[in-house]
Amino acid sequence: MVNLGFSIGDLHFRNPVLTASGTFGYGSEFEDFMDLSRLGGIVVKGTTLEPREGNPYPRMAETPSGMLNAVGLQNKGIDYFEKNIYPRIININTNLIVNVNGSYIEDYIALAERIDKLDKIPAIELNISCPNVKMGGMAFGTNLDSAREVTREVRAVCSKKLIVKLSPNVTNIVDFARVVEEEGADSVSLINTLLGMAVDVQKMKPSLSTITGGLSGPAVKPVALRMVWQVANAVTIPVIGMGGIMTTSDALEFLMAGASAIQVGTASFIDPQASVKILDGIENYLKTKGFTDIKDIIGIINRK
């Protein structure tokens, strides 16, 4: 028997495989393909105070070993979430985490207060790293003072576990991890997408309506892994690693670099069962290598 569980403070996860926000809907989109309760957690679609239509089409472009997206946080807002989505998903037996977004600090605070009242949501993921919105989003996650302020203000109203999702579009991501840890974040998740772009040479136009968008998929994995390794060595709170994880081996790299857990994102678009296949793969790997607890491999490359 292998112990796969990990914890953020007193919040227990049955295993370290979560699904990344914006790539797994509200979970129910994937219920035909797997038993959702097998997952360590589901981070649901980014939610805002008001409904958002997102960016115009086209908002996606395939790129070598990855994709660009510029969805722009399309969602029906917190009222709709509370009334229509929350009651529908609370029976999914795993940790449901809401990814929280805003244009102003007040939005983040108001949203965190609302979600704090939802019993079946044990944690929020504070998204200060969305590259596809005109206001807020990444602006908070690329300025140390803003990152500090929004984390402090949300911490003050949030009794749930607070995970802050970091942007890779900064000079030194470690500084941001340290700042949000100082302000009381219980965990950091990284990386959000890397800002990128593509041009359609036939149409002689940008491939995305917004010109730039967020790059995800295997193309970003080495960058993500490097950042996770740096952050895991700099903070004491658990690090949730993500960025181009497609296979068991990819997931193990993040765990060995110091991530306590991982999120599967873009892979779910290509194989809706990717997350549970990776989970099975991690368990098999540990058994084969004779480990009894996943903690034995977390950050193993950093041990002397």
Binding site: F33, Y57, P58, T63, N69, I270
Partner: protein, 255 residues
């Protein structure tokens, strides 16, 4: 109908011309009851150049043989790679996906309009209509005589009208100029093809005050309503082509 992901065997491959080919896939177990207008998401080869799946319409279904066909146009790297598959190879697909065309009253006069790869879903739709007592007219547009594909197949379901740009078969010109649109009266029209063609047919339908449904081909990542990439700007807000479509009533679109 529950969606599933499976490796299916290619029972037959038929090359129609330089641009088009058909893959006939055999179910491992009983194939699902497809609805006309639905599609599958095909895994190409997992290479770095063809990272995402490709959405492909159901072209034809044979429940007796437990097979279904995909009509594919070589339009880029992904479809070119798919064109190299041969009989006996397997293909990873997610299916069945999407909504379906609404079904007419049997007394209705129905027109199917297709251009390019847009003719693909109309064969299965036409066969479905015919088996439910409604024989449709079919209007297909091609560049020239040598580009005509699946003509005999469409003839088995109703009256086929053709336009070619050079007049080498049927009426010379484009679908939107074919005389059948002015000489015959229809209650309902189903259309799939290039956006400009669908918009012209939508405008024809609006003028005649008849029901018009179109099948859209937006770029897609997941195909199951998770990524929100394939959106259509509708009067009801942004909807996903993959789960709210691919079939839309043109009255719901902002065309």
């Amino acid at each position: 109908m529950a969606k599933c992901i499976e490796d299916l065997r290619i029972l037959e491959k038929k090359r129609l011309n330089d641009d088009f080919f058909i893959l006939e896939l055999k179910g491992n177990t009983k194939i699902p009851d497809f609805k006309p207008g639905q599609f599958v998401q095909v895994r190409v080869d997992g290479s770095s150049e063809t990272f995402l799946r490709r959405p492909i319409s159901i072209h034809d279904v044979d429940y007796g043989k437990n097979t279904f066909k995909l009509l594919i146009q070589i339009a880029g790297t992904g479809t070119r790679t798919l064109s190299k598959l041969e009989k006996g190879d397997s293909l990873n697909i997610i299916y069945p996906l999407g909504n379906s065309f609404s079904l007419p009253d049997t007394k209705e006069q129905v027109l199917l309009v297709g251009g390019g790869c847009g003719i693909a879903p109309l064969l299965f739709l036409g066969k479905y209509l015919k088996s439910n007592g409604c024989v449709p007219d079919i209007l297909l547009g091609f560049r020239n005589h040598s580009r005509i594909i699946e003509f005999d197949e469409y003839q088995t379901i109703g009256n086929v009208f053709v336009t070619t740009e050079d007049g080498s078969m049927g009426e010379k010109g484009y679908i939107t100029t074919h005389s059948v649109l002015s000489t015959r009266n229809y209650h309902r029209v189903y259309c799939c093809g290039p956006d400009s063609m669908m918009k012209a047919i939508a405008s024809y339908a609006r003028t005649k005050n008849i029901i018009c449904e179109v099948s859209l081909e937006n770029l897609m990542a997941c195909g199951i309503g998770a990524c929100l990439c394939c959106i259509v700007d509708t009067k009801k807000g942004n909807l996903c082509t993959c789960i709210d479509g691919p079939v839309f009533n043109v009255n719901d679109l902002k065309w």
